[in-house]
Each structure stands twice: as C-alpha cells, then as structure tokens.
Amino acid sequence: MSAAVKWFWFASPQTFFPLAGTIARACWIGAALLAVAGLTVGFFVAPTDAQQGEAYRIIFIHVPAAWMSMFLYVVMAFWAAIGLAFNTRLSSMMASAVAPTGALFTFIALWTGALWGRPTWGAYWVWDARLTSELILLFLYLGFMALQAAIDDPRRADRAGAVLAIVGVVNVPVIYYSVKWWNTLHQGASVSLTRAPSMASTMLTGMLLMALAFWLYSIAASLARVRCIIRERE
C-alpha cells in the first residue's frame, strides 16, 4: 500500500516540480561528461577506417541519435498511454515534453546521415531504408506536436495526442519493414548507409558513450520542459 501511495505522490505535478529540477541538473552534468568522453573516443581514439577514412566518424553522432529518436518515440507513446489510461496529468505532460527532444534527435540523425552520405556515396540523400524510415518518424513526431499545438483545451490535446502516439507506435514497425522491403525492390543492396565499418571495440564504446550522453541529455531536456509545462498549466 505504501509503495502505491509513494508512486502516486510523485504523480502530482506540484510535488514532481522540485524533484524534476534536481534530476535534470544531475543529468545535464552527466550528459556533458559522457559527451566529452564519447566524442574523445570517437574523434581521437578510434582508429581511422580503411574504406571510409575520417568521414565515417560522424556515425558516433548519427547512430546514437537514431537510436534515441526511436527510443524516445516509444517513451513518448508509453507516457501518453499511461496518461490516457489512468487520467494522470503528469504522464501526459511528460509525453508532450519528450516529443520535441525526440524530433530533434531524428533531425540530427537525418542531417548527420546526409553528411555521411556525401563523402561516402557522393550524394546527400540516397533514399536509404533507414534514413527514409527516420524521415517518416520525423513526420510522426511533427504530427504529434502539430496536433497538440492546434488544440486549445489541454485535456483534449493530451488525450488526442495519446491516441495519435499509440496509433503511431503500433505503425512504426509496419512502416519500418515496408520501407525496408521497398528499398530492396528499387535499389538493390549497392547503396546502404547501414553497412557501417565493422566494429572495432573502441568504436562500439564510443557509440555507447554517446548514446548514454544523449539519453541523459534527453532526460534533462524533457524534465526541464515538463517544468515549463507544469508552470504554464497550474
């Protein structure tokens, strides 16, 4: 019983407000430290790739950003679903807070993908399966944000966004596999940005460090945003 009470204690936006601030501060610092570590590994420690030269180093940002973009969509849908099911305001606020960060990482993944593509394959955009899926994911994020922005009543905005996010999260695997199939039909395997250089363990370490850095950044940014939303609404 006391565990349940504790859980719902923090579900109140008022009590969560100061806690969010504390956690966010810790995460900003953690994110900065991990980012420095990750970038050092990525740009200085990891060896030069035999095929792609120095340009490949951008995957240390591209891949973790892509991971985050997909992970955050699921997180957003999760919080939105909780908010819809249990009618808790804070859960819906968290979903709305996560969305812009998710969209940001999708955007970063797309740009870094393009920057990687140019020196490697000669074109900025090659309709690679993964990048195309990322593009559609960006549209899903923007759609969620646009829908919430268009609705004045906060409760309707939360609940409508939740339905959209749930429908979206169910569709993401379908979209991913259909785009993958489409890519093989029309392009063949010749052009693929997913064929990353075979992983030296330092490369993997670098990417994991960056992924963790991005994750902590996401937590910090979302919590900061949720504090703004709380202040706005209460």
Binding site: I136, F139, L140, L142, G143, A146, L147, A150, I151, R155, R156, R159, A160, V163, L164, I166, V167, G168, N171, V174, I175, S178, V179, W181, W182, L185
Partner: protein, 222 residues
C-alpha cells in the same frame, strides 16, 4: 446493432446521391492529379509506364484523403454526431458503418476509374487486375486510418492540412505495398506477397481502427 449500421450506411449513401457534386469533385481530383504528372515529368512512354503504379496510387491516396475531413465535420455541425454518440449501438459499430459508407462513396469509384488512368499511362492491360485488387484492398485501409485522423482533428482550425500531416506517414505502408505489388507484376514476378500483406493490413485495420476512431471522437466532442 446491424439495423443501426445499415441505417447509417443507407443514410450516407442517400446524402451522397443527393449531393453528387461532392463525390464528383473528389473523382475529378484523382484524374487531374494523375494527369499532372506527365506534364511535369515528360511524356516519354517508358518512363510513364514505369511510374504509372506509383502515380495512380499517390493520386488515389490524395483523393481519398481529401474527402476525409468531411467525414465527421458535417454531422458534427448539425448535431447528428451527438445522436450517434448517444445511440443504442456501440460507437465502434456506428463508426465502422460511417467509414464503410465513406469508402463506398470515395474509395470504390477510384477502383473503377483507375483503368482509365492506366490507359493514359499505357500500362499493360495484364496489370489492370493486379492494380484493381491492390486498390480494392488498399483504399478501405486508407479510409480506416484516415478516419482516425479525421476524428482527432474534428473542429480544429487548419483542419485539412493538419489531417494530411497526421495521416500521410501512416499511409506509407499501404502505398508501398499497393504500388509495389503492381511493380512486381510489371517485372514479371508474383504480386502475391504484397497483396497478402495488404489483405492483412485490411483485416487488422478493420478490427482495430473503429475503436481508435470511437475513442478519438469521444475525445474530440467532449
């Protein structure tokens, strides 16, 4: 329950019959969009034959989406939507009936007109069958998914464009499977895989979308 569903389908069909202009406009849009592409990309026969399935599918998709914003808006404006929400039949059933009527009015005619467009693009007649089946399976899915968007954006400013933004990413799998199936047939391969996937999408959408649409309607009318 069946009586209510039948009454709604009948009612919507009757309304469409009395206002044929609305239906005609959407079909005309389909034809116009499909006619724009050759003007834009040149009329080289091989090129047109290659892009035909994709163009027809995109035009069908856009045309179907155009009529979606009207799906619930008219009923919402004159108060009949409230009566549906208070009906004796579960809202999911009522909503499914509305989507069925929408498809009969805006989706099925596209299947009938598609061969004409295919003729414009000199698509080999052997592919007409696959094209028709892909549209027959795909357009109901477009109606079902689109209705979720229509319900969510009910009464919002920026309605039509916002609806497009929400719904077009979700349309991508249907587009890929539909046009892709015809492309496979054009390449001499069997389109069975794609058509079966479309059928699966239809079954899943028919089973789950009505409840999502009902939930969205309740949210939008509160």
């Amino acid at each position: 329950m069946i009586a209510a569903a039948r009454a709604i389908v009948r009612r919507d069909l009757l309304l469409a019959l009395r206002r044929p202009g609305d239906v005609g406009t959407a079909l005309l849009f389909f034809v116009i969009v499909a006619s724009l592409f050759p003007l834009g990309i040149g009329a080289e026969p091989n090129l047109l034959r290659a892009v035909a399935p994709g163009v027809i599918w995109v035009a069908a998709l856009l045309s179907s989406m155009l009529s979606l914003s009207r799906l619930f808006a008219a009923d919402h404006a004159d108060g009949t939507l409230e009566q549906m929400l208070l009906g004796a039949a579960p809202l999911g059933v009522v909503v499914a009936a509305k989507v069925l009527a929408h498809w009969l009015i805006s989706g099925l005619p596209l299947v009938a007109i598609a061969p004409l467009i295919a003729l414009q693009y000199d698509l080999p007649a052997s592919l007409y069958g696959t094209l028709a089946v892909s549209l027959l399976l795909g357009t109901p899915v477009l109606s079902l998914i689109g209705a979720i968007g229509a319900a969510l954006t009910l009464g919002l400013r920026g309605g039509g464009v916002l609806l497009a933004l929400l719904v077009l990413p979700l349309y991508v799998p249907v587009l890929i499977m539909g046009a892709g199936g015809v492309d496979m047939a054009a390449a001499g391969l069997s389109p069975q895989g794609q058509l079966q996937l479309l059928a699966a999408l239809l079954v899943v959408a028919a089973a789950f979308a009505p409840w999502a649409i009902a939930a969205a309607l309740r949210i939008s009318t509160e």
